[in-house]
């Protein structure tokens, strides 16, 4: 067999293997396309990609207006124990929200503030890859990582897959623990996973997400990351920002100005 033919067969074989992998979605397309393995740097898919910039300097200590608004709008139950807890958005210390970032000689001010954590609506979401029923999926038209509560089997594979602890499971019936029943969003049943949905129900009505709308300090900015003229892109242009655990290649759509 001559060299060329051997090379041809080798390349075709590799191509077919890679193609099969990509086709079944096991490997993201980007991991084969790029010459440099830098899934964190490139631009995202076309169309809208909703994203958020959190200016943590403006976020006021002790204020929980965004959290309260979100949890009220979405009928998130309040349990008094950490084990059953369900949360879509919450505040945690610096070293918990950004565990990979250097903690050495961080200014006292940075260390003592608390930071908002929520679903990152990753451009390359591990939870979507893990879900065996497509009950969690990325919306092709706007990049939101959504949940179908009626399809979820409650295997919690997505919770193991999420590197941000953004997902909660309904360990018990959530309905008795809902403080004030909101008509804007359905309640969930026992046995399914839930998380922040970037207020897709409000976006459909042309409203901003509840947390963004309720923040009195204007610390949260929401917009299309793929639109270079959008407010979020302007902020990203002018400020140095962080994404949580960007080294994992998940490409979070939530950015932090520290």
């Amino acid at each position: 067999m001559n060299e060329n033919r051997r090379e041809f067969i080798r390349k075709t074989g590799l191509g077919v293997l890679a193609g099969l992998g990509v086709a079944s979605g096991i490997f993201p397309k980007s991991s084969f396309e790029t010459a440099v393995a830098s899934t964190t740097h490139e631009n995202s898919s076309s169309g809208t990609r909703w994203g958020m910039v959190i200016d943590t300097r403006k976020c006021k200590e002790g204020c929980t207006k965004c959290i309260d608004a979100c949890h009220e709008v979405h009928n998130v139950p309040q349990f008094d124990n950490a084990k059953d807890e369900i949360k879509w958005i919450w505040k945690s210390p610096y070293e918990n929200v950004f565990p990979g970032e250097s903690g050495q000689f961080v200014s006292e001010e940075t260390r003592e503030r608390s930071y908002l954590a929520l679903c990152n609506h990753c451009d390359n979401p591990p939870c979507v890859r893990a879900c065996p029923t497509q009950a969690t999926f990325k919306r092709s038209w706007d990049g939101i990582v959504a949940m179908d509560y009626h399809r979820c089997i409650g295997c919690r594979f997505c919770m193991a897959a999420c590197p941000y602890g953004a997902r909660s499971f309904n360990w018990r019936d959530p309905r008795p623990a809902i403080q004030k029943r909101s008509q804007a969003y359905p309640t969930r049943e026992r046995g399914v996973v839930e998380k922040c949905n970037f207020c897709s129900e409000r976006l459909a009505q042309g409203l901003k997400p509840a947390c963004v709308a309720e923040c009195p300090e204007g610390a949260l900015t929401f917009g299309d990351l793929n639109d270079s003229q959008s407010e979020v892109r302007m902020l990203l242009e002018k400020n140095h920002t962080l994404q949580r655990k960007s080294e994992l290649g998940t490409r979070p759509s939530v950015f932090y100005i520290i």
Partner: protein
Amino acid sequence: MIEKALKGDRIYWGWIVLLLVIISAGVFSYINQLTTGLTLTGMGRDVSWGVYIAQFTFLVGVAASAVMVVLPYYLHDYKAFGKIVIIGEFLAVAATIMCVLFILVDLGRPDRVLNVLLYPTPHSMLFWDATVLNGYLLLNIVSGWTVLGAERKGVPPPKWVKPVIYLSIPWAFSIHTVTAFLYAGLPGRHLWLTAVLAPRFLASAFAAGPAILILVSYILKKTTGFDAGKQAINKLSVIVTYAAILNFFLLGMEFFTAFYSNIPGHMHGLQYLFFGLHGEGQLVPWMWLSVIVGFGSLLVLLIPKLRTSSPWLIAACIGIVVSIWIDKGVGLIIGGFVPSPLEEIVGYIPNLNEIIITIGVWAIGILILTLLLKVAVAVKAQDQA
């Protein structure tokens, strides 16, 4: 053939009744869990998988290990395994059924489990795991039952069963590899994010599985007089020895990579399990028990004189099973969740309801194994008569 399971002495029926009582308690607790929710377990937002998934992981290994008797017997015509191969296959059947049950009891919405088949999702490793596990169950039931049925009639097994048996060999490796992929492909879970996870799973499976097989053989010999043969037991004990060495070697690799590279995320899981992290170390005594019992048993196995003496071999096999059960059935799964993605340390203690369900599932598996082996032994006895 199944009617052979209905003829037994008082000890046999006593055992069956005992298992049924335990199963009833398990079923009762499961109904409890179905009506109240998984809040009746020790699992929570941070440690979201617990003892159920851990048992599942351990038992996939036990199921896969049947290949350690099937491969030498069918592929290399290793005659000494002639009598034990059916025990291995039936052990695989019972273990696989337990695996499926442990997944079922872990689901928040078991009524929707068919969604996995209705919406096949090739990019999910759980989809593949469900596929290979059910396939493996089918392969082992078909090959085991057919060969045994032929033996009962005193005829050679039908030709079509050979390819089924050959297929079950790579399939056995696949079930445990895919099970490792459930964990090894998740970003941000450092303890699991290791390329040696699948090899480690296979090594520990091929140590613990044949060790269980040796123990089952001794129980059968004691209770039914069925003798798998000294040569088969000796060979199995050698397999256990090599696999156990490989298992501890691979565990050592994890330690080297984590601690020599000194990357905090990579060390945290092992630190939590073996030394305690930030003063929290609820699993530390367990993990050291696993290491000490494991090495002790390995030492016994390494000395040919002890390995070939029944009491020592039984003790060593129990030791290997306990050691690997702790490592895989407790440490590996819990350790993957601690510290949490936000580097918080939240412990996990299974609660009573969860433990009763777990024991109930084990009892179902043991009942199935008892019935299958009863049939197998009856057929083999008829051969000799």
